[in-house]
């Protein structure tokens, strides 16, 4: 991208909207990035390798999950399988990204995919709840994605370089959990979404002993089932009420 085009991009109102929607959660993303950076070096990784990993892999939860495995010299397939399981939620997200960006060339779709983290997904879906393409979506996405990238990478690199000056025992990583909590609360709406959240949280704790972080997938499956069950229960209830109101005389119709 040349300079005038870049400047035009930065002035685009949708780009700015995307960037500013990310600022609040950016603090949490940053704290999480810092902790991940520190943890990589304290886990025995060399500084150059940690920098290489942070700047290329760009997936905090997967990085944290494979860290102990890499330190212990686990086989490559175990490392890769673990990261894939932790990242499976992105596969689910990508089916939703498709309804917005399917018309773009594949290379651009892949670039969008690479830069789409959890927090970007949530703020994008809140801004564009209807799954159909709109002209402002692409600048909005890049505004959010740029902010998220900077909010993650700058603290992460700082954490890698200053690893020995930052004690993990302070519990700075908790700020990352709080950021996710804020995002989660902002997604709660209908009753079925509360139920799905409660089910997912309990299932994740109950199934915590599973290897490869599979408890997260178990939780997602349980929550989807619970959400769908509640939806169809509510539908059946509504149908029954309508039938009652009509006095039960047209039993046969659908």
């Amino acid at each position: 991208m040349n300079l005038p085009a870049l400047r035009a991009q930065l002035r685009d109102p949708s780009f700015r909207q995307g960037a500013s929607d990310m600022l609040g959660a950016g603090l949490g993303v940053g704290a999480w990035g810092l902790v991940t950076g520190v943890a990589m070096v304290k886990g025995g990784m060399s500084t150059p390798l940690a920098l290489f990993m942070s700047l290329t892999v760009y997936a905090g939860s997967a990085q944290l999950a494979v860290l102990p495995l890499m330190a212990a010299g686990a086989p490559l397939w175990v490392i890769w399988l673990t990261a894939s399981c932790v990242n499976l939620r992105f596969v689910i997200f990508s089916s939703m990204w498709r309804s917005y960006f399917a018309h773009l060339p594949r290379r651009r779709r892949m670039a969008l995919g690479y830069f789409s983290g959890d927090v970007i997904f949530v703020s994008f879906m809140k801004r564009y709840p209807r799954p159909e393409p709109e002209a402002t979506q692409l600048p909005y996405f890049w505004g959010a994605a740029t902010t998220n990238w900077l909010a993650w990478q700058i603290p992460s690199v700082a954490g890698i370089i200053l690893a020995n000056a930052i004690p993990l025992s302070w519990g700075l990583g908790f700020a990352g959990v709080l950021a996710l909590l804020g995002i989660l609360l902002s997604m709660l709406g209908e009753r079925s979404s509360w139920l799905a959240t409660a089910v997912a949280g309990s299932a994740a704790v109950a199934a915590f002993a599973l290897p490869l972080k599979l408890n997260i997938l178990v939780a997602i499956a349980a929550a989807v089932a619970a959400g769908l069950a509640m939806e169809s229960g509510e539908r059946a209830l509504r149908r029954a009420r309508i039938r009652l109101a009509r006095g039960g005389d047209d039993e046969g119709d659908a």
């Binding site: 950021a179 929550a223 989807v224 959400g227």
Partner: protein
């Protein structure tokens, strides 16, 4: 020759590929993959569930077991942070309030 420096680099390159493929998964094919309707409706609970599944163990477990005490800095911090969220609806404030409760209890009292 020893391949000791090679293995971590290979591991990282594989992880980059995993990031790319998982995040772009359903955007990779040119044609739509047919999804049954119930799955499409069910998938709207997935992001919520993924977040809840990541957060819940971070809040009520330590070292792989459910915590057995209420004297844990995370619990009051989450209550205050959630209360702030429903009062003001800001994510930044939620983080700040939560940390303002958490850090003194955690560092000061060792909860």
């Amino acid at each position: 020759m020893n391949g000791q420096w090679l293995e971590p680099i290979l591991a990282v390159l594989g992880l980059v590929l995993i990031t790319l493929v998982t995040r772009a998964f359903f955007m990779l094919p040119e044609r739509d993959l047919p999804l049954p309707d119930w799955l499409r409706r069910g998938l709207k609970y997935a992001p919520l569930a993924a977040l809840a599944a990541v957060i819940a163990p971070e809040l009520v477990m330590s070292q792989g077991a459910l915590i057995k005490t209420l004297a844990d800095a995370r619990l009051p911090a989450v209550l205050c942070a959630s209360a702030y969220y429903f009062w003001r609806r800001g994510i930044l404030g939620t983080i700040v309030v939560g940390m303002a409760v958490y850090l003194p209890l955690h560092i000061g009292l060792g909860w």
